[in-house]
Amino acid sequence: MSHPNLHGKIEFTPPARLMKILAIVGILGVLVFLGGLILAPHRIWVGYLVAFNYLVGLGMAGGIFLAVATLSGATWANGLRRIPEAMTSSIPLAALLGLGLLFGLHALYEWTHESVVAGDKVLQGKSAYLNVLGFSIRLLVFFAIWIFFLRRLVRISRQTRNEEEPGGMRKGLVTSALFMIALAITFSLASFDWLMSLEAHWFSTAFALYRLAGVGLTGIAAVTIFAVGLRRTTSFRNIITGSHLQDLGRITLSLSVFWVYIWYCQHMLIWYTNMPEETSYYLLRNEAPWNVLTKANLVLNWLIPFLVLMPRAACRNETVMLRVAVAIMAGQALDLFLQVGPPLMGERPTFGIWEIIPLISALALFFLVTMKSLGTSSSVREENAARARGWSTTESPSP
């Protein structure tokens, strides 16, 4: 066992070729989106809404990771902090996509059609909340709040070199706690606005929590992918250790179980009560051909992580962790597709370039901005990392 060089810095330079490919995929996605607006306007907006929510989830997950680590005093995560910090840099991009979404409201949401609302008692009752002006204002307010908090969280996280500093600690705690409160409210409303209102007659009180569990799961999978990537390409192997991977594995396992727990809560109560206004949500999703996707959703997001990550050795294995993380990333995309697809497509799922390209290019842009941000802020004081691994650089003799 060798002590690391205490004054060394480790830099991460994003591979130029990969960055170029990601940029090209991102730009191609924009072109396909513009083409889709003319060629297949209804189909392109489905893909757009999935991509938008996915990107928001990834960025917010970075902030949630930082806030939870700060609030729980998780010094084990110090060596990993650079990753969630960088992930939050995708939120301004997501805000841009959010502005674009305002042009697609008519294609996506039933409640924007005045003629439909005029003949519908339920939608009339909800129109005080579900209207285009309110939707737009809320979207702007959400992003303003999120960007404000994420910038503060990242700044404090980058400044806080030593978790024992009382001043930095306190500032971080207060900001994190306020962020969690703001998140609980804004993210719930955002999930109602962007996803639940696709089926404006239906509602579920578990929906926001279900989305939040999904966001947490996607986020931890993304952190895992970056952690493994950094270990493979740079000397971060000394900083992100096998123990970090194991911790990430355990969090993935618990979040996966939490996700399926909320999924089941919502499903079970609706199935058991069997009330027409509630069962409408599962009518399409539990019947062929959608039910195949519903089952695949459970397999990817719960069964695979649950079975694979149970043994300790699997969590410490880079390759296994990477594969599970990719399965979860795919599973969460499918989960979003299952939220958006049925109300807009009806009985038959349609799937082609219009649905998949927006998501792929959003992912490419996410990796692009995150890696760019990692490249500019990746220097990690090894002293920090040493402490994160449980090494104490200054032995403190106690009385």
């Binding site: 499903h267 069997n274 032995e395 106690s398 009385p399």
Partner: protein
Amino acid sequence: MKQRPVRTEVGVFGDEHTLLAAAKDCQHRGIDIVEAHSPYPIHGIDPILGIRSSRLPYWTLVGGTLGLTLSLWFQYWSSASDYPLNVGGKPFNSLPAFIPVTFEMLILFAGLLTVAGFLLTSRLFPGRKTHPIDSRITNDRFVLIVQRKDASMTQGDIQTILQHHGVLECWSEMNE
């Protein structure tokens, strides 16, 4: 088998950090670490003591699997086969309705079997007599027992090392 009596050095520490530092130092100097006693698990002591990872989770796995299969089978048998009752027009064999009980039974069986496995493998039972090296190790003291490998190091040398790390008390013991 006849064993020569061995002399071990016992050090009592006030907290786990000093014990861990002393244990690392001793290991570094080629002194054998025989055992460490503490009121709670010490993070990082396992590799120093050469403790392999526990096999207790297998008891949990067996218990969980048992709870899962038994409760699923019992619910199927009672509500679909032996005494079918119409509940809200649902099918007799309704998996969603079985999940909560299955979940609870899985955890109950897994938990009980883990405790049982722990007690069995550590040969613990009510009324078992134990002889702790120092009764304070169940409260607020941390004990490290080391043993010198060769004659190049005296008892005093080891005690100096322990004292350097803030040992509170130390003494020698002869073990047969």
